[in-house]
């Protein structure tokens, strides 16, 4: 028992845990923000997972062919936007079932990335290493004890993630467009009678979700690692959806829930590496469940208290 307490204390006193929390949360925050944008306007977007995957793949592909990771980021974003546009087109214009459309897009993304991986890089599993987006070096701040180790050398994606939360919150709650997004997501008919173009507002929400989810995906591939591996999103799109729900479709709430999940993952990783515990390598699978068990518990505990936009997932069809 004592060695467990010791191990947990070690984790919490080590700045690596906090830095890891930030980096683990970054893709979740970005994707969850995508979810918030889409669902605030009333379009369910379970395709986040697929959009992230395309963003991740596009990032590596662009970086590989141009040698410039920023072009990779641009390509990944473009792929994400295209995926979101497909979802928007099917579910807004044609009133398709949004769950089916989203599922189809996830499968599509897995198929495309799996195929292209072999075609372009000649091997299944993973791509060559490519250049990744350089970290933001805070110079002498790195030498500040504890905090320097956490914040001194972070990926620009981490900053982007938190900026997206501020941007999302201000846009949704403080601007005229945000008011319209919320109205369209809750009562599209009422918005329509006031001359608001329900379709345009929804297109905007879904397209923005493509942008954010793709950024989240690109972080996974060209954020630090510089490589794409098959199905590397590994369910993060769904965790991001859960974070959005637990966060009550609010940017700040979704961010908090993402930090919780990111923290759980970081905790699990750090704990496994504690030598005092003397763990066999096989236990990593048990530890790997921690973030998902937390998801289950938190969703079961919170889901009753959070309320989706009233018209979320319901196509708006004008007579």
């Amino acid at each position: 028992m004592n060695e467990w307490i010791q191990a947990i204390l070690n984790v919490f006193t080590n700045p690596t845990f906090y830095k890891s929390t930030l980096t683990q949360s970054t893709p979740l925050i970005l994707a969850a923000m995508g979810g918030v944008f889409s669902e605030t306007t009333g379009v369910t977007n379970i395709a986040l997972e697929g959009i992230m995957l395309m963003g991740a793949f596009g990032g590596v592909m662009g970086s590989y062919f141009t040698g410039n990771p920023w072009y990779g980021l641009a390509l990944g974003t473009f792929f994400g936007l295209a995926m979101a546009a497909l979802h928007a087109w099917a579910s807004i214009k044609y009133g398709a079932d949004q769950i089916i459309s989203g599922t189809a897009l996830i499968l599509l993304a897995q198929g495309i990335t799996g195929f292209a991986l072999v075609e372009l890089f000649g091997q299944p599993g993973s791509t060559d290493l490519v250049r990744s987006i350089p970290l933001v070096d805070l110079g002498s701040f790195k030498d500040v004890p504890f905090f320097g180790q956490i914040f001194g050398n972070l990926s620009p994606f981490v900053y982007m993630a938190f900026a997206s939360v501020i941007f999302g919150w201000i846009l949704i709650y403080k601007t005229k467009l945000g008011l319209r997004m919320r109205s369209v997501g809750n009562n599209p008919e009422a918005a329509d009678t006031l001359g608001i173009n329900v379709y345009n507002v929804r297109y905007f929400g879904v397209i923005m979700s493509g942008l954010f989810a793709a950024l989240g995906g690109a972080y996974l591939s060209i954020g630090e690692l510089g490589q794409f591996t098959t199905n590397m999103t590994n369910g993060r799109g769904f965790i991001a959806l859960a974070a959005m729900i637990i966060g009550n479709w609010n940017p700040v709430g979704a961010m908090s829930a993402s930090l919780l999940f990111g923290g759980a993952t970081a905790f699990n990783n750090q704990l496994q590496s504690q030598s005092v515990l003397n763990l066999s390598t096989n236990t990593q699978y048990i530890f790997g469940m921690i973030p998902y068990i937390i998801t289950l518990i938190v969703v079961a505990g919170f889901i009753g208290k959070s309320r989706a936009p009233s018209a979320d997932g319901i196509p708006y069809i004008k007579e």
Binding site: S183, A190, T193, L194, I196
Partner: protein, 515 residues
């Protein structure tokens, strides 16, 4: 080109025709509304009133016909065009975003901004000014879903005025209001009229037409069947024009001969879905051969009460006794078998199955009766024979038993439910909102049927938001407010105003003491 001077009219709609698949919703309809008048459009459901107004407001476009606003021809392609022509519409189902605040709802679509941001402060100020000017007091920061219906309606009216409307269309505005709220609304409308607004009122309540309008356009089956000045007509004449035949507006009934008590509810406590008590220690009783009416504004525990009695909702405490037996924890099926019929308030949710043909809808709840089933298979032939008989007896139209439930009109759906419930010879009927959304003809039929059930010795518990219905059918009246009975009286010993006060939370003793 023919030159006509329409300048004294706020609205002229000329030769409006609108076709929907299979229906001619408006057939060369003409409408003339003078500036500054309150003009009623009356007609049964499906007469095309709302369709006509939706075209004036640009929600749908006419196939033929022209619209003139203040004498000038206008193309109204969408609500923005209508708003620009200073037309505003308050819809029957409020077009409010529940989760947003009053201010946000009112300015939505025409939001004041400061730089890139929505200027909430200015919006609030503008709304306070409007509220004051028109006597429509409402808290700008309240969230819509927390407001009572009457307040929500005010928000709708302010919303229209905020857009500068000179012509206001109100679609069935009193359907959800208490008598007091209705009077307040009428005051507001008269005030608006004084300030030069023109008002078009869609309704099927003829006493309201008589009370506040100057002229009336009557519609039936998509056509105009009469245009009259209110002062020169009466409710009976209007009803006849609406229905196309003589209609009895009052229900004819003999005195009731109540027998023994069949239902007793004792100190009943029931919670609503959010876990808050909706029925708070309520007691009542129903005798054989009488109609007990429960008057109240929607949302005061009526739904929970009827659901508890019919077994659809768990009882927290208290007792329900039916035919002398404590049935508090009996299943709905067992209650049915004991002879409890139910006409639920939401036809489509609890009354019938939209996607089932009429003949299956007729045996819902009786599906395992040995008459219709041998234990494994349904006896389709027998079911169809039974259904043909009911369709004939209750005059369901069209008389096709394989039509889907959803393809019947509201009145005929209700007939199917009533027919089914009567067919298995109940001893008690729990009837909720039996005529909601029905037109004059169907209401007449349902009322007659309820009275004849009563005369056969069936006890009836009637829940209705329509005070008129309560008065014309009930032998005893109970008023419910926040899950409690405010008092009991009989129709000949009370007035709508008194019952209205009880519905607003005043105890009968207190009202009578003050008077």
């Amino acid at each position: 080109m023919e030159k006509v001077d329409y300048s004294k009219y706020a609205v002229v709609m000329k030769g409006i025709t609108k076709r929907f698949p299979g229906v001619l919703a408006n057939d060369h309809v003409d409408l003339f509304v003078k500036k500054g008048e309150i003009h009623a459009i009356v007609g049964e459901n499906g007469a095309g009133k709302t369709t006509l107004m939706s075209q004036l407001y640009g929600l749908i476009r006419p196939d033929e016909g022209k619209i003139y606003i203040n004498g000038v021809e206008k193309q109204i392609r969408n609500p923005n065009d209508a708003i620009e022509a200073k037309i505003g519409m308050v819809h029957q189902h409020f077009m409010l975003v529940d989760r947003l605040s009053v201010v946000e709802n009112i300015v939505l679509g025409q939001e004041p901004v400061k730089g890139p941001f929505f200027d909430l402060g200015r919006a609030r100020k503008e709304i306070r000014e409007l509220s004051k000017k028109f006597g429509l007091l409402v808290d700008p920061d309240a969230i819509i879903e927390d407001l009572p219906v009457g307040m929500q309606q005010r928000v709708e009216i302010i919303k229209v005025l905020y857009r500068g409307a000179e012509i206001l269309i109100l679609d069935e505005p009193t359907a959800v209001l208490t008598p007091q709220e209705t009077n307040e609304l009428f005051e507001i409308l008269k005030n608006l009229q004084k300030q030069g607004r023109t008002i078009i009122l869609i309704t099927h309540k003829l006493n309201e037409v008589m009370a506040i309008t100057e002229s009336v356009t009557v519609m039936r089956l998509g056509k105009v069947t009469g245009v009259v000045k209110t002062a020169e007509t009466n409710p009976n004449q209007l009803a006849n024009m609406m229905v196309g035949r003589e209609v009895l507006l009052t229900v004819e009934k003999e005195k009731a001969h109540p027998g023994e008590e069949i239902l007793q509810v004792k100190n009943l406590v029931v919670k609503e879905n959010r876990g808050i008590e909706a029925v708070k220690g309520l007691s009542l009783s129903v005798k054989k051969g009488e109609i007990v009416g429960i008057a109240g504004v929607a949302g005061n525990g009526q739904t929970e009460l009827t659901e508890a009695i019919t077994g659809l909702r768990r009882v927290e405490s208290g007792k329900i006794i039916f035919k002398g037996e404590d049935i508090t924890n009996y299943s709905p099926k067992r209650r049915r078998e004991m002879g409890m019929g139910h006409i639920p308030e939401d036809r489509l949710k609890h009354g019938l199955i939209k996607l089932f043909p009429v003949y299956y809808n007729f045996i819902l709840g009786e599906h395992d009766n040995s008459k219709f089933s041998d234990g494994i298979f349904l006896k389709i032939e027998e079911i169809k024979r039974f259904s043909e008989e009911l369709v004939k007896r209750f005059d369901v139209r069209p008389p096709k038993i394989d039509l889907l439930g959803m393809n019947l009109s509201g009145g005929n759906q209700q007939k199917v439910i009533v027919a089914r419930e009567i067919a298995f010879n109940p001893m008690l009927m729990v009837v909720s909102q039996p005529t909601r959304g029905l037109d004059v003809g169907a209401i007449e039929f349902i009322h007659k049927t309820l009275i004849s059930m009563r005369d056969k010795g069936i006890g009836i518990l009637l829940v209705s938001m329509e005070l008129e219905e309560i008065f014309s059918l009930s032998d005893r009246i109970l008023a419910i407010y926040e899950g409690r009975i405010m008092g009991e009286t009989t129709p000949d010993k009370t007035t709508p105003e008194e019952v209205g006060l009880m519905m607003a939370g005043h105890k009968l003793e207190d009202i009578r003491q003050e008077a």
